[in-house]
């Protein structure tokens, strides 16, 4: 296991200690495994919480910050936080206007966030709403789109929902806008090498010396096909074709695109991919607004990349461009 760590059992807690120490202007850890804004919740603003397993930095907890999330519950690597931790995150995000739970559609997270919602409802009288991120087009067909997993597209939803909440819109409105953003995202991934969950100590899947897997999920969930590594342009073409089949774009449409590394794939290669992505949307005549290329949602040291599109209308574009800041993404 080639990882820089001490005791694998301490991986997440030591990571959070360093994370908060490095960026005290953005993050505080008021309780173990709960990250919140150092200045506390904003009174009268809808709070937005997320959460999920560790191992995906900057997702989830890196997106706590002005114009983004208010708090986050942090689980073990690739494991849900507990309902108690989620309830605590909700309490820290609550500014009296209710709290939106905005997180990826994974069974364990859903059960625990539902339970957390019941807990804060009973104990703290906090009104909550839920928007699930389900942007991975490979994880279920279009007819069962609500079963899809949430992947990198979530960062657009964090940004847009955060900007809406900043206008002091009420919980219903923030929920509507977050759902609209979530619905506008489509993602697909591909992987070349696995990552190692520290407590497991071994790779979470195996791929042959020269193999890639199209459509693989961020925890190694099986994809569409596994075969010899293809040239970058061919890979991107297939990814874009699959996205377009699920959500067509036409001339004059506006969108943002995220070309995201799962961790080890270097920026150099993301730009080679982005070059092709840009060519494809130029050919359609759709305009890419605020493209993102980098490591925005990872699986530790996994090699591979995801592409996300988000179709924009005036409302979503306005919220996407509104000022926001966290340690990994700053707008305005």
């Amino acid at each position: 296991m080639k990882k820089i760590l001490n005791n694998p059992a301490d991986y997440v807690d030591e990571m959070l200690d360093g994370f908060v120490a490095a960026h005290p202007q953005f993050y505080a850890q008021p309780e173990r495994r709960v990250i919140a804004r150092p200045e506390g919740a904003t009174s009268g603003k809808v709070g937005i919480v997320s959460g999920g397993g560790s191992g995906h930095l900057p997702v989830f907890t890196g997106y706590v910050g002005p114009g983004f999330l208010d708090a986050c519950a942090v689980g073990d690597v690739f494991a849900s936080p507990s309902a108690e931790q989620m309830a605590s995150a909700i309490r820290h995000a609550d500014g009296g206007a209710g709290v939106l739970r905005l997180y990826g559609n994974y069974g364990g997270d859903v059960m625990n966030f539902d339970m957390a919602g019941e807990m804060v409802d009973m104990e703290n009288d906090i009104r909550t709403a839920t928007v699930l991120l389900a942007d991975d087009i490979v994880s279920a067909g279009k007819d069962e789109a609500e079963k899809r997993r949430g992947v990198a597209g979530m960062i657009y939803a964090f940004k847009i929902a955060g900007a809406c909440a900043d206008t002091k819109a009420d919980l219903d409105e923030v929920t509507r806008v977050a759902q609209k953003a979530a619905d506008a995202c489509r993602s697909i991934g591909m992987a070349l090498t696995p990552c190692i969950v520290p407590q497991a100590g071994k790779a979470n899947f195996e791929l042959g010396e020269n193999e890639m897997e199209m459509g693989m999920g961020i925890h190694g969930e099986p994809g569409i096909w596994r075969d010899a590594l293809r040239p970058a342009d061919q890979i991107v073409d297939e990814m874009i074709d699959r996205i377009l089949a699920d959500h067509p774009f036409s001339k004059g449409d506006r969108l943002s695109v995220l070309v995201n590394s799962l961790g080890a794939t270097p920026l150099e290669e993301l730009y080679i991919m982005y070059r092709k992505v840009k060519q494809r949307f130029d050919a359609i005549g759709a305009e890419i607004v605020m493209p993102l290329v980098g490591r925005y949602a990872t699986s530790m040291e996994m090699t591979g990349a995801t592409i996300t599109t988000i179709a924009l209308d005036d409302e979503l574009e306005r919220y996407l461009k509104a000022p926001a800041a966290c340690a990994y993404w700053r707008v305005g």
Binding site: S80, S82, G107, G108, D114
Partner: protein
């Protein structure tokens, strides 16, 4: 034993904690084939915490303590589901210091329903829900003496019934073929729990 009270619940939890500790490696391995390999940890840590909890004499509050113990130590699906089941039992048992054994089948059924709602799961999807359902039905009209054996038999039979069928819930659903060949880890865990809960005749 014809009635259930807090002391007997605690004794049962202690037996299950011991049984779960003994089965932890087996359950981790089973979950490792189809999921993230933590099921043995979840079940053993969860029941250890529940067995150590101070149980109030009100059975409803006692079940609530079990639920909380699970929520504290485990966030994996099975832990949350078990916590949900205990919570459902807590609601029904609230206000009682003793319950007739004949009330148990209803508690099991209520736990099943709450867990189905929590996990948005259906019966027949090869999950712990099917084990609970089979048990609830098997012990529905059983008298106290035979209830334990019937529960164990039903939990065991569920594993048999689902051989060759794929898991359609939880992480295991990603492996259609492999999950058809193997036991659902959650059903296996349920069998080990029930086996340990039922005091042996000798």
């Amino acid at each position: 034993m014809a009635t259930l009270d807090s002391a007997r619940l605690k004794a049962a939890l202690q037996r299950v904690a011991a049984g779960a500790a003994a089965a932890a490696a087996e359950l981790n391995a089973a979950d490792g084939q189809l999921g993230d390999g933590d099921l043995g940890i979840t079940v053993s840590k969860g029941f250890a915490a529940a067995a150590e909890a101070d149980l109030p004499s009100d059975l409803g509050m006692a079940f609530l303590e079990c639920s909380k113990a699970f929520q504290r130590v485990s966030s994996s699906s099975y832990g949350t589901l078990v916590a949900t089941g205990f919570m459902a039992a807590a609601k029904s048992a609230k206000g009682f210091e003793t319950l007739e054994v004949s009330a148990i089948p209803a508690l099991v059924a209520e736990a099943r329903d709450a867990m189905m709602a929590r996990g948005k799961g259906e019966l027949g999807a090869k999950s712990v829900l099917d084990s609970l359902d089979a048990c609830a039905k098997a012990i529905e009209d059983a008298d106290a003496a035979e209830m334990g054996d019937k529960a164990v038999a039903a939990a065991r039979q569920t594993l048999q019934d689902f051989k060759g069928r794929p898991c359609k819930l939880g992480r295991a659903r990603m492996f259609t073929e492999k999950s058809a060949e193997l036991d659902d880890p959650g059903q296996l865990a349920f069998l080990r729990i029930v086996e340990a809960a039922v005091p042996t005749a000798e």
